[in-house]
């Protein structure tokens, strides 16, 4: 197995869930919360500890949109492109974010692992459309200009951190 990978976080999460196979989704969620994605190394490890196949864990991880197998940025920006947001021009906002950060449809995360930009279908806040989320914070009635300002602000936060 991977000698260089520290499994102590995984061990703690497994213990929290009593190593129960049927809690695989919760286990993956916690792992993702810690690493901001699902590191490949944990799959064979989980398979052994939970006595289930690696292919099945991979199956769960690829079934749910929320799980990511790629490392994500510190700030995960989710731009809603559900119907309500779409008709209120969510796409130009998405475009602006990508432009500001040098990202595209195929590249979601900046190389410095600071930002990830992705789309979601309806955040359930259609009245505030167009809506975006940055990690757990919601920003309503967005515009491309507000998007640029937000990026500026977030970059400052990073610089001061």
């Amino acid at each position: 197995m991977h000698e260089n990978f520290d499994f102590s976080v995984t061990d703690r999460i497994l213990a929290d869930h009593k190593c129960a196979q049927q809690l695989i989704i919760a286990i993956l969620q916690d792992i993702q919360e810690h690493y901001r994605y699902l590191p490949r190394e944990v799959f064979p490890y989980l398979a052994e500890k939970l006595d289930m196949s690696e292919a099945r864990i991979y199956s769960v991880a690829t079934f749910y949109e929320n799980f990511s197998l790629e490392p994500k940025g510190k700030y995960v920006i989710k731009i809603c492109d559900g119907t309500a947001c779409h008709v209120r021009h969510s796409l130009p906002i998405l475009e602006r974010f990508r432009q500001e950060l040098g990202l595209s449809e195929n590249k979601h995360t900046t190389d410095d692992l600071n930002f990830t930009v992705e789309t979601v279908s309806c955040l359930g806040a259609c009245g505030l459309a167009p809506v975006i989320m940055v990690n757990d914070d919601v920003y309503s009635a967005m515009t491309p200009e507000k998007a640029s300002e937000l990026i500026k602000k977030l970059k400052e936060e990073l610089a001061n951190a």
Binding site: R40, M52, S53, I57, Y58, F63
Partner: protein, 562 residues
């Protein structure tokens, strides 16, 4: 009986007799509903929707996943259902690579069959199979072509539920869904053991057995090569149907004749080397019993099991018998003789098994860098070669195999069925070999198609605990008990349910039809004059003149922890 409960199927009352689902009840009415994803030995998945029936209110139910209830009135063949089934088939075909003529599963394909049954003569949707992932040819045993996969999930459930391997599963969802190993790794890098049970159950050509026929023809045509071939026990009772004889009939003599006609120089019976396995394994067993170490002894003839043990239970490898499989023993003897005589030999093994293809490529089984077995052909492969040669199989006069390995024992023949190895060893270690003694050995509990059979055997002062398992998920159950401290002395493991007769290289038969092949093998055993391996004169001859003190080199192997 007055209190029986009934279902009305197309107007005919059919009794409910404990069936778990409508589909089984409907089968009793003589109606075979179309199915892709239902198999009685697997969990119910209910995804393909081919088995839909119409209930009395005009609603549609999937018969495979609907429990039967008394008084149900269902129809199985209405215009609506036919239209529905055609729609599903068209959608599947639109997502399927339709190169039937070059597909290895041509004429054995359930999709072809149902497309024919439901009069599909055109598809209204554009074909999208080009978007599928590329083929996976990495395994020595099987290949996978996602462009032919209809996502029935049968392979996933077999690999998981019957074999406890879980090499493959669904990945992604919606239109991106596919069958995949973890991270889409090549099968050869997955825990796949090459048992081929997924291939046997796949309704299409998405999973097929690797084909090694071309190099065999080349070798046969090459005048400088001596071609030798060995035929495994289970093959003789399974070529049946496809060649115009009854499934289960022992046609060994015809197979020998066919192989000679094709041009093989020497034809042998793997039952002979199975006798050697019995001799070596019995000796090993008695020695371990005496010393009380490395018990239980676990059999080693099944390469699917060996791979599984290496992957999941490497600490048990010291319990696994050090005997090579009969195939590899025979190959070692033949290649040894060829070397001595300075001959160039190409050795072919005809096997019921797909895992044997991988076994033959293992480095442990190569001499001077050359594999002892040059090519493994499955039973299905043999059938193809016979057809390709234009041989009229049912007209062939049976012939005997070649000397000096001509005499086989019944013990070697029954290796092809679960419990066979155990019975052969019991015959070997039995104190007396009268007819009565052999009959009593036959009834100890090793026979039958159950996945786990256990029994006690009085042996001298001792009582031996013996288990016979087939299907790796069953093996796993017994291994878990061994690990938790339960005592066993001898465990026979075969990866395929029911043993080699149901190997994935054999023509596929339904779960329910397996007993004919079993009967065929036990009958072959009864009709042989030599029933015990140690009574086989060829075996003593071999020990004296060929093997001598080289048993270790020729007949044994040590699988190392990786």
């Amino acid at each position: 009986m007055a209190n029986k409960e009934f279902i009305t199927v197309d107007g005919i009352p059919v009794p409910i007799e404990g069936e778990a689902n409508l589909l089984e009840v409907i089968r009793k009415a003589g109606i075979k509903l179309p199915t892709f994803c239902y198999h009685s030995e697997l969990s119910v998945y209910g995804a393909c929707r081919m088995c839909m029936v119409e209930n009395e209110w005009g609603g549609l139910d999937a018969a495979c996943s609907t429990p039967p209830r008394a008084g149900m009135k269902i129809k199985t063949n209405t215009e609506r259902l036919r239209r529905y089934r055609r729609n599903i088939l068209e959608l599947i075909i639109a997502n399927h690579c339709n190169d039937c003529t070059t597909c290895k599963n041509n004429l054995r394909c359930k999709l072809q069959d149902l497309a024919m049954r439901y009069n599909i003569d055109g598809v209204r949707f554009p074909n999208t199979s080009g978007n599928a992932r590329p083929k996976d040819e990495s395994s020595d045993s099987i290949s996978m072509d996602p462009s032919k996969c209809i996502l029935c999930g049968d392979c996933v459930r077999v690999c998981h539920e019957v074999q406890n391997v879980g090499a493959i599963d669904f990945a992604f969802r919606g239109s991106k869904m596919s069958i995949s190993t973890a991270f889409g790794k090549p099968l050869a890098e997955s825990p796949c053991v090459g048992c081929g049970q997924c291939v046997a159950i796949c309704p299409t050509g998405a999973l097929v057995v690797k084909n090694h026929i071309t190099p065999v023809w080349k070798a046969v045509d090459n005048p400088e090569l001596k071609t030798t071939v060995q035929i495994a026990p289970a093959v003789r009772v399974a070529v049946g149907k496809e060649l115009g004889v009854r499934d289960g009939e022992n046609v060994m003599g015809k197979i020998v004749a066919a192989l000679r006609l094709m041009g093989f120089d020497e034809v042998y019976d793997t039952s002979l080397s199975a006798d050697l396995t019995v001799m070596e394994e019995s000796a090993e067993f008695l020695e371990r019993l005496e010393k009380g170490e490395n018990l239980p002894l676990i059999t080693s003839c099944c390469p699917g099991w060996i791979k599984y043990c290496e992957n999941k239970h490497p600490e048990l490898l010291s319990n696994v018998s050090s005997c090579k499989s009969p195939m590899q023993m025979f190959a070692a003897l033949l290649k040894d003789r060829a070397k001595k005589n300075g001959e160039k030999m190409f050795h072919v093994a005809i096997m019921p098994c797909t895992a044997k293809k991988s076994e033959a490529t293992r480095e442990e089984f190569a001499t001077d860098g050359c594999p002892d077995v040059d090519a493994v052909i499955t039973t299905n492969g043999l059938i193809r070669m016979i057809k390709e040669s234009g041989i009229m199989f049912d007209d062939l006069e049976p012939e005997a195999v070649d000397m000096p390995f001509g005499t086989i024992s019944g013990a070697g023949v029954i290796f092809g069925v679960t419990g066979g190895v155990t019975e052969a060893v019991l015959r070997r270690v039995a104190a007396t070999k009268t007819r009565a003694a052999l009959l009593s050995v036959a009834n100890k509990g090793q026979r039958g198609m159950e996945g786990i059979k256990e029994f006690d055997l009085e042996y001298g002062e001792k009582t031996l605990r013996i288990a016979v398992v087939s299907g790796l998920a069953n093996a796993e159950k017994v291994i878990k008990r061994v690990k938790s401290g339960e005592h066993f002395d001898f465990i026979e493991v075969m990866a395929c349910p029911g043993g080699c007769i149901n190997g994935a290289g054999q023509p596929y038969i339904m779960h329910e039809e397996r007993c004919e092949r079993v009967k065929g093998l036990y009958e072959a055993d009864r009709l042989l004059s030599v029933r015990c391996s140690d009574d086989n004169p060829v075996i003593s001859e071999l020990y004296e003149n060929v093997i001598g003190d080289r048993a270790h080199e020729l007949l044994h192997v040590h699988y190392k922890k990786k």
